[in-house]
């Protein structure tokens, strides 16, 4: 471990020699920069860091990191990374995926990596569109989305990635966006430091096939009114004058309220450490889409046995009780006889 207070590397050390080939103006650039700038602060070594991705625009990410990297096949990054992280608990394994890669073709692997709590930092770039295949609707596209494959509008109801992750028993769930490097770095650091599977949804703009998908909440002037920052232990408040908040109504349904009207003590206090996922789930679904006030930050961060550590412990226990493996003894374990 390097000294975190005095990083010995710089962003340059974490940048590979490969030319970045995303479209000019793509939100992926700012995510890459945030990760490359964060790495020196994490106190980890390049050789102990691995980026694993699937297929899609964002999945080119590993090529641009000067670490170990594996650009795999569509949807399978969580499975491949689960094998790597379970085999090698000493490594820091990141998974880079998108809404098509992680929630459509690879949805099964994603939910199982989360429930197992494999030690992975999963960044899901959500741009609500298929970019690499040139603009088909994705599992997070809004109903009615007109694309090349849905000329009359999409009939598919979209996934809410955070409620999916919470439903899959994820121990760490967060959301950030590509317009705020500082927020991304804070959330990524929390995700990286979490023991187990950390799931981060990043609202990321695809300026070619779905430009402005998040404009209503992420435009600079819209943010104060439409982003609800979640801070552990703090009342959930937002607004240009911090005048709004989130409170439960008489039916237990969260509502956006005027704090002065309802009173400060009615405002929900965020608690990311609750074992019960109900609060996180409600907050994840507070906005029906990125068009109305949307919470960002860490929704849930709880401790649960990390998978690789559990696997390692079973091995230690077995070696302690049975002694280390003896091949000769194994071959005779089913009953044997000797012919002179």
């Amino acid at each position: 471990m390097t000294d975190i207070a005095n990083p010995t590397t710089t962003k340059k050390d974490w940048t590979s020699d490969q030319e970045v080939r995303w479209c000019p103006g793509c939100g992926d650039y700012s995510v890459l920069t945030a990760v490359q700038m964060l790495m020196p602060e994490l106190g980890v070594k390049r050789e102990e860091t691995v980026f694993v991705s699937g297929i899609g625009c964002s999945s080119r990410f590993p090529y641009y990191m000067n670490t170990y990297g594996l650009h795999s096949i569509h949807g399978r990054a969580p499975a491949i990374a689960s094998g790597l992280a379970t085999a090698r608990p000493d490594l820091k394994v990141w998974v880079i995926t998108g809404d098509g890669d992680g929630l459509s073709i690879g949805g099964n692997h994603l939910i199982h990596a989360l429930r197992r709590n494999v030690n992975l930092t999963i960044l899901l770039f959500n741009n609500q569109i298929y970019g690499l295949t040139k603009g088909q609707y994705s599992p997070t596209s809004e109903v009615g989305k007109v694309t090349k494959s849905t000329p009359f509008g999409s009939l598919d109801y979209p996934f809410n990635p955070l409620s999916l992750a919470l439903g899959a028993e994820a121990s760490f769930v967060a959301r950030t966006h590509d317009m705020d490097r500082k927020h991304m770095m804070e959330v990524f650091k929390r995700a990286h430091d979490h023991k187990g599977a950390a799931f981060v949804e990043i609202y990321q703009n695809c300026n070619v096939f779905n430009d402005g998908a998040f404009e209503e909440i992420l435009a600079r002037e819209a943010r104060p009114s439409n982003l609800i920052p979640l801070v552990h232990g703090q009342p959930i408040r937002f607004g240009p004058q911090n005048e709004k908040g989130v409170a439960l109504d008489g039916r237990g349904v969260p509502q956006i309220v005027d704090v002065a009207t309802v009173g400060e003590d009615r405002v929900l206090v965020h608690d990311e450490s609750l074992h019960d996922t109900s609060l996180a789930f409600m907050l994840a679904r507070l906005a029906r889409g990125p068009t109305e006030p949307t919470p960002i930050g860490v929704f849930r961060a709880v401790e649960r046995v990390e998978y690789g550590a559990g696997v390692q412990e079973q091995i230690f226990d077995a070696q302690e009780t049975q002694g280390p493996g003896d091949l000769g003894a194994l071959l005779r374990s089913g009953g044997s006889w000797t012919v002179e």
Partner: protein
């Protein structure tokens, strides 16, 4: 009728006997057969087994669909197959009789549980009359034994409810057969205590039923003779009785040790491969990691991820799972990482015959990926050979940084034979080094690590694992530039890489043994096989030779690449016959590769080939040449 003293005298000696236990799938026939096998193995007989059971855990009781059988062939000499036709059939109900009677050797012995032959069960089995009385069984020696009622009577002291006590009737059958064939009883009695120790009533019921069966043989004046099959004269050594799946599991554990790498097995449950996962999962003290994944794709993905991390990555499956893994195997070929995929083949296509054997995945293993995607294929030929085949498959995967497919099948998986244990110290070292640092110098003098600089001889690329400073690299499924491994869409580079990947696999031919040819003077016909048909082919060849008909045999363990002298071998014979449990897959490869007019002998009934049928086919070919 002979008197007791005489019956208890010297049992008649048999050189071999084939016994088939058959009953409902809930009757415990697999347990009964396995116990008889284990006892015979410890007694010192050579043996081979053929479990044959339905895919349903409990098919409707009493029906033909629900019949489960276990055949065991024991002998006082070296044998190769579980036997074509049983000499003895134990039939626990009418359905078991009906389903198996056609296989029993003429004059064979039928041991019938008469208690189950009521109108209802007869009707369920599809008998219009009662075969016990209508002459159906005239050609057999029939022993009608009230197995259920004696079992109920014998187990009364345990206080078990009749419904539960009845379940011990398979141990009655085992006891009776054990008496008939003079098997030692201590081992089975000890096994019952151990296996059912937690349920004392069940243990006692089984023990009492077993003893009742034995005593019934001894006292009922029904059996005019008793037999024995003397131990086989095995070569000196220590032996164990082993199934293919256990041998494969142990082979993988051994391979991890021999490679000095932690074994990482990721699998999804599938018949008939699951037992490999079960067995390896028991041995965590060897440092093995096992992961039961969410699906077949995740299993091969996790194994590949572990391989990237420097572990011995393995996934086990059967045909349907191999279909699903294809894309990831292609990725492993592109990444050039070591990976082992074990396919315990079963009847296909689709769900097919999950519990029955077939060897119809050869062409899938060979060609079942998009793009030019060659990989080595190794096939086990007997249950015990699965051990050695697993080590060989791992050796190739590690040395050549390639996925390897190891083919077993349902017959090998569940079949058992005695295995002379290898001296662990003499097993080969199959370890390979990891890349230790930069392997290239850039024009400006800076050291660099290029992941696709190849070993000149093997064409293998360096295996650089995370955690190693100086070998950080990025690789993926996109085409890579020769040397640097960077993404490349260059047309000439793609052709070069495609040919390099193919050449790497074909060079393996220099690193595997020549054809294991068993030639006989005067032979003009070569019988060429692969996989689990080995025993059947060898038995047919042995029988022909004993009758003065010369014939040559060769059996392939390496299916890709082939041994480098295979072309010469197949061209040296006037005719080549290729017996397979498929519609001629090896035969297609041989004909395409060597332009010889090889003929197929094919059967796809979910069962091993029968040696007497094969013998006729070979002889017909000899006569024609």
């Amino acid at each position: 009728m002979t008197d007791t003293a005489e019956r208890q005298g010297v049992p008649s000696r048999l050189d071999r006997v084939v016994i088939r236990f058959a009953g409902d799938s809930g009757d415990g026939m697999q347990v009964t057969g396995t116990r008889f096998t284990e006892t015979s193995a410890l007694f010192g007989n050579d043996l081979a087994t053929l479990p044959d059971f339905p895919a349903e855990i409990r098919a409707p009781a009493g029906t033909l669909a629900g019949v489960s059988a276990f055949q065991v062939h024991i002998s006082d000499h070296d044998i190769l197959t579980p036997g074509d036709a049983p000499n003895v059939l134990v039939a626990m109900n009418p359905a078991a009789l009906k389903a198996n009677l056609g296989d029993v050797a003429p004059g064979g012995t039928l041991l019938i549980n008469i208690d189950s032959f009521d109108d209802r069960n007869l009707a369920k089995a599809g008998f219009t009359g009662n075969p016990l009385h209508d002459g159906t069984l005239a050609d057999f020696r029939v022993f009608e034994v009230p197995m259920t009622s004696i079992t109920l009577e014998a187990t009364k002291p345990t206080g078990a409810k009749p419904r539960d006590a009845e379940r011990s009737k398979n141990f009655f059958a085992l006891g009776l057969i054990s008496w008939m064939y003079s098997r030692p009883t201590e081992d089975t009695l000890a096994w019952i205590d151990k296996r059912f120790g937690a349920k004392p009533v069940v243990a006692e019921s089984n023990t009492l039923a077993f003893k009742a069966g034995w005593n019934f043989g001894e006292t009922a004046e029904l059996f005019d003779s008793r037999y024995e099959v003397q131990p086989t004269k095995f070569a000196p050594g220590t032996y164990t009785n082993i199934t293919g799946n256990t041998a494969l599991a142990w082979g993988l554990i051994a391979a991890g040790q021999l490679a000095k790498l932690p074994l990482f097995l990721a699998s999804y449950p599938i018949t008939p491969a699951s037992d490999v996962l079960h067995e390896i999962s028991r041995h965590k003290n060897f440092g093995v990691r096992t992961l039961q994944t969410e699906d077949e794709i995740a299993a091969v993905g996790a194994a590949l991820g572990a391989a990237f991390g420097g572990h011995l990555g393995v996934t086990t499956t059967s045909g349907p799972g191999l279909d699903l893994k294809s894309e990831t195997i292609g990725l492993a070929i592109s990444l050039e990482l070591p990976l082992l995929i074990v396919d315990v083949q079963r009847g296909g296509p689709s769900t097919g015959l999950p519990t029955k054997t077939e060897q119809a995945d050869l062409l899938l293993a060979m060609y079942g990926r998009h793009g030019e995607a060659p990989l080595p294929i190794v096939a086990a030929r007997t249950p015990a050979h699965c051990f050695e085949a697993a080590i060989e498959a791992v050796r190739l995967a590690l040395k050549y940084r390639t996925p390897v497919i190891l083919l077993s099948d349902g017959y090998l998986a569940n079949g058992a034979e005695p295995w002379k244990l290898p001296d662990v110290a003499t097993l080969p070292d199959i370890s390979v080094p990891f890349a230790g640092g930069p392997n290239h110098t850039l024009p400006d003098g800076t050291p660099a690590f290029w992941p696709f600089i190849r070993d000149e001889q093997t064409l293998a690329r360096p295996w650089a694992v995370p955690g190693t400073p100086g070998t950080e690299h990025r690789i993926g499924g996109l085409e890579k530039a020769d040397g640097t491994g960077n993404v490349s869409y260059d047309p000439v580079n793609h052709e070069r890489m495609t040919r390099l990947r193919a050449e790497k696999i074909s060079r393996i031919a220099n690193d595997i043994p020549l054809v294991d040819l068993d030639h006989e003077e005067g032979a003009e016909v070569l019988v060429l096989g692969w996989g689990s048909t080995y025993g059947t082919i060898a038995a047919a060849v042995r029988s022909l030779r004993a009758r003065g008909r010369p014939v040559a045999q060769a059996h392939l363990v390496h299916l890709n690449p082939f041994p480098r002298d295979l072309g010469e071998v197949v061209r040296a014979y006037k005719r080549v016959l290729i017996p397979e449990m498929n519609l001629g897959q090896l035969s297609k490869l041989i004909r395409a590769e060597y332009l010889v007019d090889a003929k197929s002998y094919c059967k796809v009934q979910g069962l091993p080939l029968r040696s007497f049928e094969l013998e006729i086919a070979i002889e017909t070919m000899i006569d024609a040449s």
